[in-house]
Amino acid sequence: MGTAMSLDEDLITTSQQVSVESKSPRELAIARFQRDRLAKWALFVIVFYLVVAIFAPLICSLLGISPYALDGKALNDFGLPKGSFGGISGAHWLGVEPGTGRDILARLIYGARISMLVGFLATLVTTAIGIIVGVVSGYKRGMVDAVIGRITDLTLAFPSLLLMIALTRPIIQRLESFGIPEGNTSRIVYIILILGVFGWVYVARIVRGQTLSLREREFVEAARASGAGTWRIVFKELMPNLWAPVIVTVTLAIPGYVATESTLSFLGLGMLPPTASWGAMLGDSVRYYRADPTYLFIPGIALIVLVLAFNVVGDAVRDALDPKGDRQNIA
């Protein structure tokens, strides 16, 4: 074998790296996302909605409209908007609300605040609880998982909408007695709370599933082998790997919660007047499908556009974050 040994030295050459210049996962994701033109538009829409919501007072005052100002003159004797297309006019670009003559555009802009606030906060709460519970039960398994599993079963066994409605009053009262300001604040807190109580389960399930498969990966063991504790593993090792599924859930959840707010509003559990919310507008507008169809479509379209935007962005983000996303297809 002597010859082989000498040859060995021949063969060893220090060859340089030949891999293509590649990007970090983040850069890669951003690059992938940027390739998706539709997604960029959708993101623009979301940002637009957010900006409009945040700067509602400024925008409305610039446009010279107010969500609260009554305009009886814009209404006919039946309280319906004068003129065609729901009273669309120079003064009221999207027409006026039947019954009060309030400006629909202004209400839509202000309504976005409540709806997006509820949507985002509820999503924040449910995902935060969901992620923590999901990761912990997925990672810890055993007793912890079993107990959480039973709580999950219990939560799922209740008809949530029914309970949401039934508990509105007592819980709002309780909240107010805890010093949460009366009125819309306590209502928003309630809606978010109750959505949180029922909503975390879905996030937790997804996260738990992901965690179960993640924890089988050796990097978790590697971390343990170096002495890392549960918290470090959960937060430093597992969490960063959960963003993709979580983002997708989030983008679906936000519009879903906006819809829930409107259902509660439809059932008479919405915001207090004169506050505008999309839910209240949807609930109100359906009654005018004959008398004022323009009004019927405006909040609906506003919501659909947002929903689609979130959906497109969600999908794009998921695809962008999926390391093997692009290579996965046959048939």
């Binding site: 990966r217 990097f219 971390a223």
Partner: protein, 339 residues
């Protein structure tokens, strides 16, 4: 044999509860993954452990590194049993005892940069080395043959062999004295395997490390190990100095294992004396009575079913657990004579 002992395992046992039955769903059976394994690892030496899939190699590795708690038995490090220590003490032990994993893809967190991965153990242990974390990490990267400039890159930007180097750097950063490597090259291409094996040997020499090297590939183990232990169904059936075991395997299982390895030499094709084992490894949930290998052993007798053979020294530190060890004459047709 005067080299001091680095690590000793005494009668390690790990049973996994399995099978859900009964009203309350309590597990009723036990899967005997590791069933009474003892060995000694000497300083600066490499103990190779071979065996087929599911024989308990990884479980053994996890028991030693305390990733799993043993059902019974002891792991003695520096004269102390570490199987039941906790908290700070355990963390201290982990500095000394590090692990290299099989899969270079799943053993690196895809969302952490190389720097983060390698420095992770430092962070966990709360150690700030002289000159800073980054410097130390880059030293480690150089040591294992990685370009230190790639500090901020992510695992997916590296090839399998390079990733395994990242894993090795991570296991070395705490200056351990013992490394448990669980199939560190099995997932790698042949040309890369050799690079990693060379690297491990180099490190062992330079740093005076002791290795427990697990593999299912006998050729790889032969290359790196001083001592070899052959496992079958949770037990060590043969153990001894590498040269002895390969040259004159005593256990029929070892013999069969050796003869099943394909030889990269077409001229040896169809050589006689090849032993082909029938069937599969039995389930570790209810292993055969007596000698566990007897169901596939061509030499098995009634005795084998009744009595479990003990792992006994057959001379020169070559241990075997068999009632009917191979005779020298039987090995005559062994295909691996030098060509």
């Amino acid at each position: 044999m005067f080299t001091p002992i680095a690590l000793e395992a005494k009668n390690l046992v790990k049973y996994f509860p399995t099978g859900h039955q009964g009203l309350l769903g309590r597990p009723t059976k036990e899967l005997k993954a590791v069933d009474g394994v003892s060995f000694v690892l000497r300083q600066g030496e490499t103990l190779g452990i071979v065996g087929e899939s599911g024989c308990g190699k990884s479980t053994l590795a996890r028991l030693i590194t305390r990733l799993l708690d043993a059902t019974s038995g002891e792991v003695i490090l520096d004269g102390k049993d570490i199987t039941s220590i906790k908290g700070r003490e355990l963390r201290a032990v982990r500095q000394k005892l590090q692990m290299i994993f099989q899969d270079p893809y799943s053993s690196l967190n895809p969302r952490h940069s190389v720097g983060q991965i390698i420095s992770g153990p430092l962070e966990v242990q709360g150690i700030i080395p002289d000159g800073g974390v980054k410097k130390r990490v880059q030293e480690m990267m150089e040591l294992v043959g990685l370009n230190p400039e790639h500090y901020n890159r992510y695992p997916h930007e590296f090839s399998g062999g390079q990733r395994q180097r990242i894993g090795i750097a991570r296991s070395l950063i705490l200056n351990p004295s013992i490394i448990i490597a669980d199939e560190p090259v099995s997932a790698l291409d042949v040309s890369i395997q050799a690079q990693i094996l060379n690297l491990l040997e180099k490190l062992q020499q330079e740093l005076g490390l002791s290795f427990v090297f697990i593999a299912h590939d006998l050729s790889v183990v032969r290359h790196i190990a001083d001592q070899v232990a052959v496992m079958y169904l949770g037990k060590i059936v043969e153990m001894g100095p590498s040269a002895d075991v390969y040259a004159s395997a005593l256990h029929p299982y070892t013999t069969a294992l050796l003869s099943a390895v394909p030889v990269p030499n077409p001229k040896m094709r169809g050589a006689s004396g090849r032993i082909r084992l029938e069937g599969d490894v039995p389930s570790p949930v209810d292993p055969p009575s007596g000698c566990r290998f007897r169901t596939r052993c061509w030499k098995a007798t009634d005795l084998c079913a009744l009595e479990e053979p003990a792992l006994a020294d057959a001379g020169g530190g070559h241990l075997v657990a068999c009632h009917h060890p191979m005779e020298a004459s039987e090995r005559a047709g062994k295909p691996h004579s030098d060509r």
